[in-house]
């Protein structure tokens, strides 16, 4: 009796997610064991060929590049975001905090595509940087900035910084200030107090930020597609390519399943870590 209204409330959500989320994933899983026929046709299979193909050197290189870009993005985001979060949480005037936070979040609400395009406009050969440098006479030939790993990294960091700042800020804001005073009182200098008290206590937020940046970076598509050029293919582009021009849905499905499994495994590890520390994940 008591669970009837609950069932009615939750049923539509089950229905939609079951039909439009679980079923597609199941179909994809099934597809990943089929064979690709001519012109995108699907020949029945069961075969492991698609998964075996994933470990061919060319594709391993793409995966390695994806992981490398994601790791680098995460590290740069961490280095860029920590000081900002620290400044807002512990140094800024209290009445300013909300404004400073809002300024970090607002770009997140604006179109990702547009923000990535902005970097194309800035970095391309006739872009803002090259035009400026050439009109100042610093250079005579445009620098190749667009379609480089550097461009991908800039675009990716630019997109992910808010996701790093926010959780770290929340952790630092919760920090009991008297603990910092206690550390100073017991003889620790500013650096020692940071490494022995602030950083360990802000660790949950820091790890959450790392997870929030690393995982989307693994599957990123628009940034490498617009800023990376032909040699900059990442896992996301590979999947898109197999479903699009390459007409090989089974192989694309296998790559997509691999990516999903990897992401879920990472999150599971994170959730376990958080639970062991007695904190709520994310």
């Amino acid at each position: 009796m008591k669970s009837r209204p609950a069932f009615l409330l939750i049923a539509p959500c089950w229905l939609v997610l079951g039909l439009l989320f679980l079923t597609p994933l199941a179909i994809m899983l099934w597809l990943s064991f089929q064979q690709a026929g001519l012109y995108g046709a699907i020949d029945p299979g069961p075969t492991l060929a698609n998964y075996i193909r994933c470990v061919e050197p060319g594709y391993v290189a793409i995966c390695a590049r994806s992981v490398w870009i994601a790791v680098a993005t995460t590290l740069i985001c961490l280095l860029v975001s920590y000081p900002v979060a620290y400044y807002i949480a512990l140094k800024a005037r209290p009445e300013r905090k909300n404004l400073l936070l809002a300024l970090v979040v607002i770009p997140f609400w604006t179109s990702f595509l547009v923000r990535t395009y902005a970097w194309m406009f800035i970095l391309r050969d006739q872009g803002v940087i090259n035009s400026l440098l050439m009109s100042l006479g610093v250079i005579h030939e445009p620098l190749t900035l667009l379609y480089t790993p550097l461009a991908v990294m800039i675009g990716q960091v630019y997109a992910e910084v808010p996701f790093m700042v926010l959780p770290i800020y929340v952790s630092l804001e919760k920090l009991d200030r008297s603990l910092l005073e206690a550390a100073r009182d017991l003889g620790a200098g500013a650096a020692a107090a940071f490494w022995r008290v602030t950083a360990p206590l802000a660790m949950p937020g820091t790890v959450a930020g790392i997870v929030l940046v690393f995982i989307p970076s693994l599957g990123t598509f628009i940034t490498p597609d617009l800023l990376g050029g032909a040699k900059g293919m990442l896992v996301g582009n590979l999947i898109q390519n197999q479903f699009g021009p390459a007409l090989n849905k089974p192989f694309g499905s296998a790559v997509a399943m691999g990516l999903t499994a990897f992401v879920l495994a990472l999150l599971w590890a994170y959730a376990t870590w958080a639970r062991r520390r007695g904190e709520e994940a994310l």
């Binding site: 003889g187 200098g189 206590l201």
Partner: protein
């Protein structure tokens, strides 16, 4: 005082336009247990933070063991603090908390191996078995002791305690008071603590400074502060609430009588009974005074009963009578009843 470990010299501190400490001069002797007592907002905590180095004075000097510590940051001062809510590091064990400060410069002179020093300290505060616990697995009293151990292990010249017992419940607070006092005697370190609880100050401290509005009203031994308050504020804060022109009488020093007491009674019976009357009488009768009034309320407090008596001139007097079950037990009297209040003139404390 030649043996002062801590001297404050005309110290001033304001936050924005608000003065917090207004010209405090004070000397605290080596080995003393000293209390800064006052209501919230009186500047006592700011004063403590100025000594600890968390705040810098706008004017005046803080002299620690003969050295002016102007501009010396907290981590380089030879003082340590027990924080109000202990500020134990939640991510470290009890032993790690206690050993936290051992690796820094100002603690170089600490003798012995860190591990054995920690063990020794935990034994001193009776926490031997809990070295590997995290702070959130401790009771309030245990946290308090960890905070003490963490500060005392560094052998500070002065230990500062910010409302050290405020977070404990009443029973535990009484126990910890005794423990704290014994601990201070054993380690021989100067303790300076801040409290708003006059009873706690009297119980723990050798000397007390009563603060009000950023200034020290009176400094003295506990008995002196209690028995001989110099200002109306100190008297009031110490619970001596029966104010007359120029003097004050503690409620416990007053007695209630159902009939005009012999000797005084005759003089007070005719004419108006009042406070001016009482004063005049006190000249007639050098040892006693008497005021007639009506009982306005009585509050049973266990060992004592607190009476509020409205004198004829409208003044409200407070009398605390012991409930000793004697034949002259006043507990039978009703509110609205007529009573006589007497006191010994020796108990009149003159005020500035």
């Amino acid at each position: 005082m030649s043996d002062a470990i801590l001297r404050l010299d005309a110290v001033e501190k304001r936050f924005g336009a608000t003065p917090a400490v207004r010209g405090v001069t004070l000397e605290i002797a080596r080995g003393e247990f000293f209390a800064l007592l006052g209501p919230s907002g009186c500047g006592k905590t700011t004063l403590l933070r100025l000594i600890a180095g968390f705040e810098q004075p706008d004017r005046g000097r803080v002299i620690l063991d003969g050295a002016d510590v102007a501009g010396v940051p907290a981590n380089e001062r030879p003082v340590n603090t027990v924080f109000q809510h202990y500020a134990l590091f939640p991510h470290l064990t009890v032993a790690e908390n206690v050993g936290f400060g051992l690796r820094y410069k100002k603690q170089r002179e600490v003798v012995g191996h860190p591990t054995s020093a920690i063990h020794e300290m935990l034994t001193l505060v009776r926490l031997e078995g809990l070295a590997d616990r995290k702070p959130d697995q401790l009771s309030g009293g245990q946290k308090q002791r960890v905070a003490l151990a963490r500060a005392l292990i560094l052998r500070p010249k002065v230990l500062l305690l910010d409302e050290p017992l405020a977070a404990l419940d009443v029973k535990l607070r009484k126990e910890m008071q005794m423990e704290l006092k014994a601990l201070q005697r054993r380690v021989g370190i100067t303790f300076v603590f801040v409290t708003h609880d006059q009873e706690e100050a009297l119980t723990l401290a050798d000397r007390v400074a009563v603060m009000n509005l950023g200034k020290i009203e009176q400094v003295g031994a506990t008995e002196e502060i209690f028995e001989r308050p110099r200002t109306r504020f100190v008297a009031d804060f110490m619970g001596a609430v029966n104010f007359f022109d120029g003097f004050v009488v503690r409620p416990e020093k007053m007695r209630l009588h159902a009939a005009p007491p012999a000797g005084i009674g005759q003089a007070s019976a005719p004419g108006a009974n009042g406070l001016s009357q009482a004063r005049r009488e006190s000249t007639h009768f050098p040892t006693s005074c008497c005021v007639e009034g009506t009982v306005e309320s009585k509050t049973y407090q266990g060992e004592t009963t607190r009476w509020q008596v409205r004198a004829a001139d409208g003044k409200l007097l407070t009398v605390v009578e012991p409930n000793d079950g004697a034949p002259d037990d006043v507990s039978r009297w009703r509110e609205g009843g007529r009573v006589w209040v007497t006191w010994d003139k020796r108990h009149q404390v003159p005020l500035q």
